[in-house]
Amino acid sequence: MITDTDIAVIGAGPAGCNAALLAAEYDFSVVMLDEQVSPGGQVWRAKSPAILSAPETPESVAGESVRNAISQSNVTHLGGVRVWHIERSEDPFVIHYENAGVSCSLSCRCLVIATGARETIQPIPGWTLPGVVGMAGATSIFKQDLIPIGSKMVVSGTGPLVFFVAAEQQRLGGEVAAIVTSNTLLDWIKALPAMLLRPGLLFRGLRWITAMYVNRIPIYWGHTVTRVEGESSVSRVEFKKISKDWTPQGQPRFIECDCVSLGSGLISAFESFQLAGISLEHNSDLGGWIPKQEQDGRTNVGGCFICGDGAGIRGSLAAETHGKLAGLSAVAFLGAKINHSIVKLRREYARAASFGEAMSKLSIPRPGLTKLTTAKTVVCRCEGITRAEIEDEMNLGAQSTISVKSGVRAGMGPCGGKFCQTAITDLIAKTKSCPVSQIAPPTARPPLRPISVNTLAGDFDYSDLPISKPSPL
Protein backbone atom coordinates (compact mmCIF):
# COMPACT_ATOMS: atom_id res chain seq x y z
CA MET A 1 0.00 0.00 0.00
CA ILE A 2 1.54 3.33 -1.07
CA THR A 3 0.16 6.69 0.09
CA ASP A 4 1.23 10.10 -1.25
CA THR A 5 2.17 13.37 0.33
CA ASP A 6 3.85 16.59 -0.78
CA ILE A 7 6.41 16.62 2.00
CA ALA A 8 7.57 13.81 4.28
CA VAL A 9 9.59 14.59 7.39
CA ILE A 10 11.53 11.78 9.05
CA GLY A 11 12.08 12.43 12.74
CA ALA A 12 9.91 14.39 15.20
CA GLY A 13 12.52 16.09 17.37
CA PRO A 14 13.01 19.87 17.56
CA ALA A 15 14.21 20.00 13.93
CA GLY A 16 11.62 17.69 12.37
CA CYS A 17 8.66 19.22 14.24
CA ASN A 18 9.64 22.77 13.29
CA ALA A 19 10.23 21.82 9.66
CA ALA A 20 6.83 20.08 9.51
CA LEU A 21 4.97 22.93 11.26
CA LEU A 22 6.39 25.58 8.96
CA ALA A 23 5.81 23.55 5.79
CA ALA A 24 2.20 22.94 6.81
CA GLU A 25 1.65 26.72 7.07
CA TYR A 26 2.15 26.88 3.30
CA ASP A 27 -0.78 24.51 2.67
CA PHE A 28 1.24 21.52 1.54
CA SER A 29 0.34 18.06 2.79
CA VAL A 30 2.96 17.11 5.37
CA VAL A 31 3.50 13.68 6.93
CA MET A 32 5.92 13.41 9.85
CA LEU A 33 7.14 9.91 10.72
CA ASP A 34 8.77 9.08 14.03
CA GLU A 35 9.90 6.08 16.01
CA GLN A 36 8.44 7.38 19.26
CA VAL A 37 4.71 7.46 19.91
CA SER A 38 4.65 11.20 20.72
CA PRO A 39 6.64 13.98 19.07
CA GLY A 40 9.63 15.46 20.92
CA GLY A 41 12.66 13.45 19.85
CA GLN A 42 15.25 12.48 22.44
CA VAL A 43 15.65 15.95 23.95
CA TRP A 44 11.91 16.56 24.49
CA ARG A 45 10.91 12.89 24.90
CA ALA A 46 7.34 12.57 26.17
CA LYS A 47 6.38 10.88 29.44
CA SER A 48 5.06 7.33 29.27
CA PRO A 49 1.28 6.92 29.67
CA ALA A 50 2.01 5.57 33.19
CA ILE A 51 2.76 9.13 34.39
CA LEU A 52 -0.45 10.98 35.25
CA SER A 53 1.22 14.11 36.58
CA ALA A 54 4.74 15.22 37.48
CA PRO A 55 6.68 18.41 38.23
CA GLU A 56 7.62 20.33 35.11
CA THR A 57 11.14 20.57 33.74
CA PRO A 58 12.41 22.89 30.96
CA GLU A 59 12.45 19.82 28.66
CA SER A 60 8.90 18.72 29.52
CA VAL A 61 7.58 22.28 29.00
CA ALA A 62 9.26 22.66 25.59
CA GLY A 63 8.08 19.18 24.62
CA GLU A 64 4.45 19.85 25.61
CA SER A 65 4.48 23.08 23.65
CA VAL A 66 5.66 21.40 20.43
CA ARG A 67 3.28 18.45 20.93
CA ASN A 68 0.36 20.87 21.25
CA ALA A 69 1.49 22.77 18.16
CA ILE A 70 1.68 19.54 16.13
CA SER A 71 -1.73 18.32 17.30
CA GLN A 72 -3.32 21.68 16.37
CA SER A 73 -1.63 21.82 12.96
CA ASN A 74 -2.41 20.11 9.68
CA VAL A 75 0.69 17.94 10.01
CA THR A 76 -0.14 14.22 9.80
CA HIS A 77 1.94 12.73 12.60
CA LEU A 78 2.72 9.03 12.25
CA GLY A 79 4.05 8.10 15.70
CA GLY A 80 5.50 4.77 16.80
CA VAL A 81 6.48 3.85 13.23
CA ARG A 82 9.95 2.83 12.12
CA VAL A 83 11.38 3.91 8.79
CA TRP A 84 13.41 0.99 7.48
CA HIS A 85 14.24 2.14 3.95
CA ILE A 86 14.36 5.28 1.82
CA GLU A 87 14.12 4.54 -1.87
CA ARG A 88 14.85 7.06 -4.60
CA SER A 89 12.52 6.61 -7.52
CA GLU A 90 10.62 8.71 -10.02
CA ASP A 91 8.23 9.80 -7.28
CA PRO A 92 11.01 10.90 -6.35
CA PHE A 93 11.23 9.38 -2.84
CA VAL A 94 9.48 6.35 -1.38
CA ILE A 95 9.75 5.80 2.35
CA HIS A 96 9.16 2.30 3.67
CA TYR A 97 8.18 2.04 7.30
CA GLU A 98 6.80 -0.44 9.79
CA ASN A 99 3.55 0.41 11.53
CA ALA A 100 2.26 -2.11 14.11
CA GLY A 101 3.83 -5.09 12.38
CA VAL A 102 2.80 -4.04 8.86
CA SER A 103 5.19 -2.63 6.29
CA CYS A 104 3.76 0.48 4.58
CA SER A 105 5.10 2.87 1.94
CA LEU A 106 4.79 6.61 1.52
CA SER A 107 5.79 8.46 -1.60
CA CYS A 108 6.66 12.14 -1.42
CA ARG A 109 7.70 14.96 -3.73
CA CYS A 110 10.00 16.40 -1.14
CA LEU A 111 11.82 14.84 1.81
CA VAL A 112 13.14 16.41 5.01
CA ILE A 113 15.47 14.18 7.03
CA ALA A 114 15.72 15.12 10.70
CA THR A 115 16.94 11.88 12.23
CA GLY A 116 19.09 13.54 14.87
CA ALA A 117 22.06 12.12 16.64
CA ARG A 118 23.08 9.04 18.49
CA GLU A 119 25.54 8.55 21.27
CA THR A 120 29.10 7.43 20.83
CA ILE A 121 30.64 5.45 23.66
CA GLN A 122 34.30 4.46 23.68
CA PRO A 123 34.40 0.68 24.33
CA ILE A 124 36.03 -0.15 27.67
CA PRO A 125 36.47 -3.48 29.46
CA GLY A 126 33.15 -4.39 31.07
CA TRP A 127 30.98 -1.95 29.06
CA THR A 128 28.73 -4.83 28.01
CA LEU A 129 27.69 -5.64 31.61
CA PRO A 130 24.05 -5.14 32.58
CA GLY A 131 23.85 -1.89 34.56
CA VAL A 132 25.93 0.07 32.03
CA VAL A 133 23.77 2.53 30.08
CA GLY A 134 24.56 5.35 27.71
CA MET A 135 24.31 8.91 29.07
CA ALA A 136 21.77 9.93 26.44
CA GLY A 137 20.09 6.59 27.14
CA ALA A 138 19.83 7.43 30.84
CA THR A 139 18.14 10.74 30.00
CA SER A 140 15.55 8.96 27.89
CA ILE A 141 14.61 6.69 30.82
CA PHE A 142 14.52 9.77 33.09
CA LYS A 143 12.26 11.73 30.73
CA GLN A 144 9.98 8.87 29.75
CA ASP A 145 9.58 6.85 32.93
CA LEU A 146 10.79 9.28 35.59
CA ILE A 147 12.71 6.67 37.56
CA PRO A 148 16.31 6.69 38.74
CA ILE A 149 18.60 4.03 37.29
CA GLY A 150 19.99 1.59 39.85
CA SER A 151 20.53 2.70 43.42
CA LYS A 152 24.06 4.11 43.12
CA MET A 153 25.27 5.50 39.80
CA VAL A 154 28.66 6.59 38.51
CA VAL A 155 28.42 9.02 35.61
CA SER A 156 31.47 9.11 33.36
CA GLY A 157 31.80 11.02 30.14
CA THR A 158 32.33 14.26 28.31
CA GLY A 159 30.56 17.58 27.88
CA PRO A 160 27.57 19.03 29.71
CA LEU A 161 25.53 15.82 29.69
CA VAL A 162 27.38 14.30 32.70
CA PHE A 163 25.92 17.00 34.96
CA PHE A 164 22.43 16.70 33.53
CA VAL A 165 22.43 12.91 34.03
CA ALA A 166 23.71 13.23 37.61
CA ALA A 167 21.21 15.98 38.46
CA GLU A 168 18.26 14.05 37.02
CA GLN A 169 19.29 10.82 38.77
CA GLN A 170 19.13 12.73 42.07
CA ARG A 171 15.95 14.64 41.24
CA LEU A 172 14.20 11.32 40.63
CA GLY A 173 15.34 9.90 43.96
CA GLY A 174 18.46 7.97 42.96
CA GLU A 175 21.96 8.24 44.31
CA VAL A 176 25.05 9.42 42.47
CA ALA A 177 28.30 7.85 43.71
CA ALA A 178 30.53 10.16 41.66
CA ILE A 179 30.86 12.19 38.49
CA VAL A 180 33.95 11.35 36.44
CA THR A 181 34.46 13.77 33.57
CA SER A 182 37.18 13.98 30.96
CA ASN A 183 36.86 17.76 30.84
CA THR A 184 38.82 19.97 33.22
CA LEU A 185 37.53 23.12 34.89
CA LEU A 186 39.81 25.01 32.48
CA ASP A 187 37.96 23.50 29.49
CA TRP A 188 34.73 24.91 30.92
CA ILE A 189 36.25 28.33 31.63
CA LYS A 190 37.34 28.47 27.98
CA ALA A 191 33.73 27.76 26.94
CA LEU A 192 32.36 30.61 29.11
CA PRO A 193 32.15 33.28 26.36
CA ALA A 194 29.95 30.98 24.24
CA MET A 195 27.87 29.97 27.26
CA LEU A 196 27.12 33.62 28.03
CA LEU A 197 24.99 33.54 24.86
CA ARG A 198 22.60 31.35 26.84
CA PRO A 199 22.72 32.68 30.42
CA GLY A 200 19.69 30.57 31.41
CA LEU A 201 21.46 27.34 30.56
CA LEU A 202 24.68 28.55 32.14
CA PHE A 203 22.82 29.25 35.39
CA ARG A 204 21.15 25.84 35.28
CA GLY A 205 24.54 24.13 34.82
CA LEU A 206 26.11 26.08 37.67
CA ARG A 207 23.21 25.11 39.90
CA TRP A 208 23.72 21.41 39.12
CA ILE A 209 27.42 21.62 39.91
CA THR A 210 26.86 23.61 43.11
CA ALA A 211 24.29 21.01 44.21
CA MET A 212 26.87 18.25 43.71
CA TYR A 213 29.38 20.07 45.92
CA VAL A 214 26.73 20.82 48.57
CA ASN A 215 25.70 17.15 48.61
CA ARG A 216 29.38 16.13 48.74
CA ILE A 217 29.23 14.11 45.55
CA PRO A 218 32.77 13.87 44.24
CA ILE A 219 33.43 15.35 40.80
CA TYR A 220 36.65 14.00 39.28
CA TRP A 221 37.62 16.59 36.64
CA GLY A 222 40.11 15.36 34.03
CA HIS A 223 39.45 11.68 34.80
CA THR A 224 37.72 8.80 33.05
CA VAL A 225 36.28 5.42 33.96
CA THR A 226 38.68 2.84 32.53
CA ARG A 227 36.95 -0.44 33.43
CA VAL A 228 33.61 -1.72 34.68
CA GLU A 229 33.69 -4.73 36.98
CA GLY A 230 31.03 -7.22 38.09
CA GLU A 231 29.77 -10.77 37.58
CA SER A 232 26.30 -10.55 36.05
CA SER A 233 25.91 -6.79 36.64
CA VAL A 234 27.99 -3.79 37.68
CA SER A 235 29.64 -3.85 41.13
CA ARG A 236 32.37 -1.21 40.81
CA VAL A 237 34.33 0.88 38.34
CA GLU A 238 38.02 1.59 37.95
CA PHE A 239 38.96 5.15 37.01
CA LYS A 240 42.14 7.05 36.19
CA LYS A 241 43.43 10.54 35.62
CA ILE A 242 43.85 11.49 31.96
CA SER A 243 46.49 13.55 30.19
CA LYS A 244 45.90 16.60 27.99
CA ASP A 245 45.00 14.38 25.01
CA TRP A 246 42.86 12.21 27.34
CA THR A 247 45.26 9.25 27.56
CA PRO A 248 44.51 7.41 30.83
CA GLN A 249 47.52 7.44 33.14
CA GLY A 250 48.54 6.95 36.74
CA GLN A 251 47.25 4.70 39.48
CA PRO A 252 43.81 3.12 39.14
CA ARG A 253 41.23 4.06 41.79
CA PHE A 254 37.86 2.42 42.40
CA ILE A 255 34.26 3.42 43.17
CA GLU A 256 31.55 0.98 44.35
CA CYS A 257 28.29 1.33 42.42
CA ASP A 258 25.50 -0.73 40.81
CA CYS A 259 25.17 1.20 37.57
CA VAL A 260 27.31 3.32 35.28
CA SER A 261 26.31 5.85 32.68
CA LEU A 262 28.89 6.34 29.92
CA GLY A 263 29.05 8.71 26.98
CA SER A 264 31.62 10.44 24.84
CA GLY A 265 29.61 12.81 22.71
CA LEU A 266 27.06 12.56 19.96
CA ILE A 267 27.40 11.70 16.28
CA SER A 268 25.01 12.18 13.38
CA ALA A 269 22.66 9.27 12.70
CA PHE A 270 23.77 9.44 9.08
CA GLU A 271 22.39 6.17 7.62
CA SER A 272 19.17 7.80 6.39
CA PHE A 273 21.17 10.44 4.52
CA GLN A 274 23.27 7.71 2.90
CA LEU A 275 20.16 5.84 1.76
CA ALA A 276 18.73 9.07 0.30
CA GLY A 277 21.90 9.47 -1.76
CA ILE A 278 23.42 12.42 0.11
CA SER A 279 27.24 12.37 0.19
CA LEU A 280 28.96 12.48 3.57
CA GLU A 281 31.90 14.61 4.62
CA HIS A 282 34.02 14.59 7.76
CA ASN A 283 33.90 17.46 10.22
CA SER A 284 35.40 16.60 13.59
CA ASP A 285 33.99 19.77 15.21
CA LEU A 286 30.44 18.65 14.41
CA GLY A 287 30.73 15.01 15.46
CA GLY A 288 32.58 13.32 12.57
CA TRP A 289 30.74 12.09 9.46
CA ILE A 290 27.91 14.44 8.50
CA PRO A 291 25.90 14.94 5.30
CA LYS A 292 27.32 17.45 2.79
CA GLN A 293 25.08 20.47 2.94
CA GLU A 294 24.41 23.89 1.56
CA GLN A 295 22.64 26.81 3.19
CA ASP A 296 19.24 26.25 4.88
CA GLY A 297 19.42 22.46 4.77
CA ARG A 298 19.80 22.00 1.01
CA THR A 299 21.76 18.97 -0.21
CA ASN A 300 23.19 17.54 -3.41
CA VAL A 301 19.95 15.56 -3.85
CA GLY A 302 17.22 17.76 -5.33
CA GLY A 303 14.10 17.79 -3.17
CA CYS A 304 15.89 16.34 -0.14
CA PHE A 305 16.60 18.62 2.81
CA ILE A 306 18.29 18.02 6.15
CA CYS A 307 18.15 19.68 9.54
CA GLY A 308 19.01 19.29 13.20
CA ASP A 309 21.76 17.32 14.91
CA GLY A 310 21.87 14.82 12.04
CA ALA A 311 23.31 17.63 9.90
CA GLY A 312 26.06 18.22 12.50
CA ILE A 313 25.88 18.31 16.30
CA ARG A 314 24.79 21.82 17.32
CA GLY A 315 22.16 21.03 19.94
CA SER A 316 18.40 21.43 20.23
CA LEU A 317 18.24 25.24 20.16
CA ALA A 318 19.98 25.33 16.79
CA ALA A 319 17.92 22.34 15.61
CA GLU A 320 14.65 24.27 16.09
CA THR A 321 15.70 27.10 13.79
CA HIS A 322 17.49 24.79 11.37
CA GLY A 323 14.21 22.86 11.10
CA LYS A 324 12.34 26.05 10.22
CA LEU A 325 14.92 26.91 7.57
CA ALA A 326 14.79 23.42 6.05
CA GLY A 327 10.97 23.55 6.07
CA LEU A 328 11.11 26.83 4.14
CA SER A 329 13.65 25.37 1.68
CA ALA A 330 11.27 22.47 1.08
CA VAL A 331 8.22 24.63 0.37
CA ALA A 332 10.30 26.94 -1.84
CA PHE A 333 11.41 23.86 -3.79
CA LEU A 334 7.74 23.02 -4.32
CA GLY A 335 7.14 26.52 -5.68
CA ALA A 336 5.74 28.42 -2.70
CA LYS A 337 6.41 32.12 -2.27
CA ILE A 338 8.15 32.53 1.10
CA ASN A 339 6.64 35.10 3.46
CA HIS A 340 8.87 34.39 6.48
CA SER A 341 12.06 36.35 7.09
CA ILE A 342 14.85 33.95 6.15
CA VAL A 343 17.49 36.51 7.10
CA LYS A 344 16.16 36.73 10.63
CA LEU A 345 15.99 32.93 10.97
CA ARG A 346 19.55 32.58 9.67
CA ARG A 347 20.76 35.08 12.28
CA GLU A 348 18.91 33.22 15.05
CA TYR A 349 20.36 29.94 13.79
CA ALA A 350 23.93 31.27 13.74
CA ARG A 351 23.61 32.42 17.35
CA ALA A 352 22.17 29.12 18.58
CA ALA A 353 24.71 27.16 16.53
CA SER A 354 27.69 28.92 18.10
CA PHE A 355 26.46 27.93 21.56
CA GLY A 356 25.83 24.36 20.39
CA GLU A 357 29.22 24.11 18.74
CA ALA A 358 30.94 25.19 21.97
CA MET A 359 29.10 22.41 23.83
CA SER A 360 30.05 19.92 21.09
CA LYS A 361 33.67 20.97 21.45
CA LEU A 362 33.58 20.01 25.15
CA SER A 363 31.95 16.68 24.32
CA ILE A 364 34.11 15.51 21.40
CA PRO A 365 36.59 12.90 22.62
CA ARG A 366 40.30 13.57 22.21
CA PRO A 367 42.54 10.91 20.62
CA GLY A 368 43.96 9.49 23.90
CA LEU A 369 40.53 8.21 24.91
CA THR A 370 40.76 5.47 22.25
CA LYS A 371 43.44 3.81 24.47
CA LEU A 372 40.60 2.80 26.82
CA THR A 373 39.77 0.01 24.39
CA THR A 374 42.19 -2.75 25.38
CA ALA A 375 43.02 -5.72 23.12
CA LYS A 376 40.49 -7.95 24.87
CA THR A 377 37.71 -5.34 24.98
CA VAL A 378 34.58 -6.25 23.02
CA VAL A 379 34.20 -3.56 20.35
CA CYS A 380 31.27 -4.96 18.35
CA ARG A 381 28.72 -5.77 21.05
CA CYS A 382 26.30 -7.63 18.77
CA GLU A 383 28.81 -10.16 17.49
CA GLY A 384 31.13 -10.12 20.52
CA ILE A 385 34.21 -9.11 18.53
CA THR A 386 37.26 -7.79 20.39
CA ARG A 387 39.78 -5.16 19.39
CA ALA A 388 42.42 -7.90 18.92
CA GLU A 389 40.16 -9.79 16.48
CA ILE A 390 39.55 -6.62 14.47
CA GLU A 391 43.30 -5.88 14.42
CA ASP A 392 44.03 -9.44 13.23
CA GLU A 393 41.64 -8.85 10.33
CA MET A 394 43.36 -5.55 9.57
CA ASN A 395 46.74 -7.30 9.57
CA LEU A 396 45.33 -9.70 6.98
CA GLY A 397 44.67 -6.73 4.73
CA ALA A 398 41.34 -5.21 5.81
CA GLN A 399 41.89 -1.48 5.29
CA SER A 400 38.33 -0.15 5.39
CA THR A 401 35.26 -0.34 7.60
CA ILE A 402 33.53 -2.34 4.85
CA SER A 403 36.28 -4.97 4.70
CA VAL A 404 36.36 -5.29 8.51
CA LYS A 405 32.59 -5.70 8.42
CA SER A 406 32.59 -8.40 5.76
CA GLY A 407 35.67 -10.07 7.23
CA VAL A 408 34.74 -10.50 10.90
CA ARG A 409 31.09 -9.34 10.90
CA ALA A 410 31.91 -6.30 13.10
CA GLY A 411 28.92 -4.07 12.39
CA MET A 412 26.73 -6.75 10.84
CA GLY A 413 24.68 -7.59 13.93
CA PRO A 414 21.20 -6.41 14.91
CA CYS A 415 22.31 -2.84 15.82
CA GLY A 416 23.71 -2.38 12.32
CA GLY A 417 27.08 -1.07 13.48
CA LYS A 418 25.63 1.89 15.35
CA PHE A 419 27.80 1.33 18.43
CA CYS A 420 31.10 0.00 17.01
CA GLN A 421 31.86 1.89 13.80
CA THR A 422 33.39 4.96 15.47
CA ALA A 423 35.87 2.78 17.39
CA ILE A 424 36.61 0.66 14.30
CA THR A 425 37.25 3.79 12.20
CA ASP A 426 39.71 5.00 14.86
CA LEU A 427 41.52 1.62 14.86
CA ILE A 428 41.90 1.58 11.08
CA ALA A 429 43.08 5.19 10.98
CA LYS A 430 45.65 4.46 13.68
CA THR A 431 46.99 1.37 11.85
CA LYS A 432 47.18 3.21 8.53
CA SER A 433 48.56 6.36 10.25
CA CYS A 434 46.04 8.51 8.44
CA PRO A 435 43.38 10.94 9.67
CA VAL A 436 39.94 9.45 10.47
CA SER A 437 38.51 11.71 7.76
CA GLN A 438 40.01 9.25 5.23
CA ILE A 439 38.22 6.24 6.69
CA ALA A 440 34.65 6.29 5.42
CA PRO A 441 31.83 4.57 7.28
CA PRO A 442 30.34 1.45 5.63
CA THR A 443 27.64 1.78 2.99
CA ALA A 444 24.22 2.04 4.64
CA ARG A 445 21.94 -0.89 3.88
CA PRO A 446 18.28 -1.34 4.62
CA PRO A 447 16.73 -2.14 7.01
CA LEU A 448 17.58 0.92 9.14
CA ARG A 449 15.98 -0.92 12.07
CA PRO A 450 15.43 -4.66 12.55
CA ILE A 451 12.24 -5.78 10.83
CA SER A 452 10.79 -9.29 10.78
CA VAL A 453 10.63 -11.24 7.53
CA ASN A 454 6.93 -11.76 8.23
CA THR A 455 6.35 -7.99 8.27
CA LEU A 456 8.40 -7.56 5.10
CA ALA A 457 6.47 -10.27 3.26
CA GLY A 458 3.10 -8.90 4.37
CA ASP A 459 -0.20 -10.37 3.19
CA PHE A 460 -0.41 -11.67 -0.35
CA ASP A 461 -2.17 -14.23 -2.48
CA TYR A 462 0.05 -16.76 -4.16
CA SER A 463 -1.87 -16.13 -7.39
CA ASP A 464 -0.71 -12.47 -7.28
CA LEU A 465 2.98 -13.37 -7.28
CA PRO A 466 4.56 -12.49 -10.60
CA ILE A 467 6.11 -15.62 -12.07
CA SER A 468 8.36 -15.05 -15.03
CA LYS A 469 8.23 -17.38 -17.99
CA PRO A 470 10.65 -20.29 -17.73
CA SER A 471 13.81 -19.87 -19.77
CA PRO A 472 13.87 -21.90 -22.97
CA LEU A 473 15.74 -25.17 -22.54
Partner: protein, 96 residues
Protein backbone atom coordinates in the same frame (compact mmCIF):
# COMPACT_ATOMS: atom_id res chain seq x y z
CA UNK B 1 12.18 27.24 50.59
CA UNK B 2 14.50 27.34 47.60
CA UNK B 3 15.96 23.89 47.15
CA UNK B 4 19.11 23.48 45.13
CA UNK B 5 18.43 19.86 44.20
CA UNK B 6 14.88 18.86 45.11
CA UNK B 7 13.79 15.20 45.08
CA UNK B 8 10.66 15.07 42.91
CA UNK B 9 9.94 11.33 43.14
CA UNK B 10 7.13 11.74 45.71
CA UNK B 11 5.41 14.39 43.57
CA UNK B 12 4.93 12.04 40.61
CA UNK B 13 1.46 10.52 40.18
CA UNK B 14 1.33 7.25 38.29
CA UNK B 15 -1.31 4.86 36.99
CA UNK B 16 -2.41 1.88 39.07
CA UNK B 17 -0.23 -1.20 39.22
CA UNK B 18 -0.60 -4.26 37.04
CA UNK B 19 1.23 -7.55 37.21
CA UNK B 20 3.45 -9.10 34.59
CA UNK B 21 5.67 -12.15 34.59
CA UNK B 22 9.35 -12.41 33.77
CA UNK B 23 10.62 -15.96 33.25
CA UNK B 24 7.57 -17.26 35.11
CA UNK B 25 7.93 -15.03 38.20
CA UNK B 26 5.35 -12.35 38.90
CA UNK B 27 6.23 -8.64 39.27
CA UNK B 28 4.32 -5.36 39.56
CA UNK B 29 4.58 -2.37 37.24
CA UNK B 30 2.63 0.82 36.59
CA UNK B 31 0.27 0.28 33.70
CA UNK B 32 1.72 1.72 30.50
CA UNK B 33 5.27 2.22 31.72
CA UNK B 34 8.13 0.96 29.61
CA UNK B 35 9.08 -2.65 30.30
CA UNK B 36 12.76 -1.63 30.59
CA UNK B 37 11.84 0.73 33.46
CA UNK B 38 9.67 -1.90 35.18
CA UNK B 39 12.52 -4.42 34.95
CA UNK B 40 15.02 -1.89 36.34
CA UNK B 41 12.75 -1.19 39.31
CA UNK B 42 12.49 -4.95 39.95
CA UNK B 43 16.32 -5.10 39.75
CA UNK B 44 16.11 -7.44 36.76
CA UNK B 45 19.10 -6.27 34.76
CA UNK B 46 20.40 -9.46 33.16
CA UNK B 47 17.98 -9.86 30.24
CA UNK B 48 19.91 -12.01 27.81
CA UNK B 49 23.17 -13.81 27.11
CA UNK B 50 25.19 -12.65 24.12
CA UNK B 51 25.02 -15.25 21.34
CA UNK B 52 28.78 -15.14 20.71
CA UNK B 53 30.32 -15.49 24.18
CA UNK B 54 27.31 -16.05 26.47
CA UNK B 55 28.14 -12.91 28.46
CA UNK B 56 25.28 -11.21 30.35
CA UNK B 57 23.59 -8.24 28.65
CA UNK B 58 20.84 -5.78 29.52
CA UNK B 59 19.34 -2.38 28.76
CA UNK B 60 22.05 -0.20 27.19
CA UNK B 61 21.00 2.54 24.73
CA UNK B 62 17.41 2.90 26.05
CA UNK B 63 16.14 4.19 22.70
CA UNK B 64 15.61 1.23 20.41
CA UNK B 65 18.97 1.21 18.64
CA UNK B 66 21.32 -1.30 20.29
CA UNK B 67 18.99 -4.33 20.54
CA UNK B 68 20.69 -5.35 23.80
CA UNK B 69 17.46 -5.30 25.86
CA UNK B 70 15.42 -7.59 23.63
CA UNK B 71 13.12 -10.11 25.34
CA UNK B 72 10.49 -12.49 24.05
CA UNK B 73 6.77 -11.77 24.20
CA UNK B 74 4.29 -14.09 22.44
CA UNK B 75 7.15 -15.70 20.55
CA UNK B 76 8.31 -12.35 19.17
CA UNK B 77 11.66 -10.77 19.95
CA UNK B 78 11.05 -7.18 21.05
CA UNK B 79 13.03 -4.34 22.66
CA UNK B 80 12.01 -3.92 26.29
CA UNK B 81 12.77 -0.18 26.03
CA UNK B 82 9.95 0.18 23.47
CA UNK B 83 7.29 -2.03 25.04
CA UNK B 84 4.61 -0.66 27.39
CA UNK B 85 3.61 -2.99 30.25
CA UNK B 86 0.01 -4.20 30.37
CA UNK B 87 -1.82 -6.50 32.80
CA UNK B 88 -0.82 -10.14 32.34
CA UNK B 89 2.14 -9.51 30.04
CA UNK B 90 4.31 -12.64 29.85
CA UNK B 91 7.96 -11.87 29.23
CA UNK B 92 10.72 -14.42 28.70
CA UNK B 93 14.38 -13.52 28.85
CA UNK B 94 16.82 -14.63 26.18
CA UNK B 95 19.11 -16.07 28.84
CA UNK B 96 20.43 -19.48 28.03
Amino acid sequence: MFQLAPNHQDDIVRTSKVSFTFDGKSFLAYEGETLAAALMRAKLLHLRDAPADGAPRGVFCCMGLCQECVVQVDGKTIESCRLPVSQGLHVSSLRR
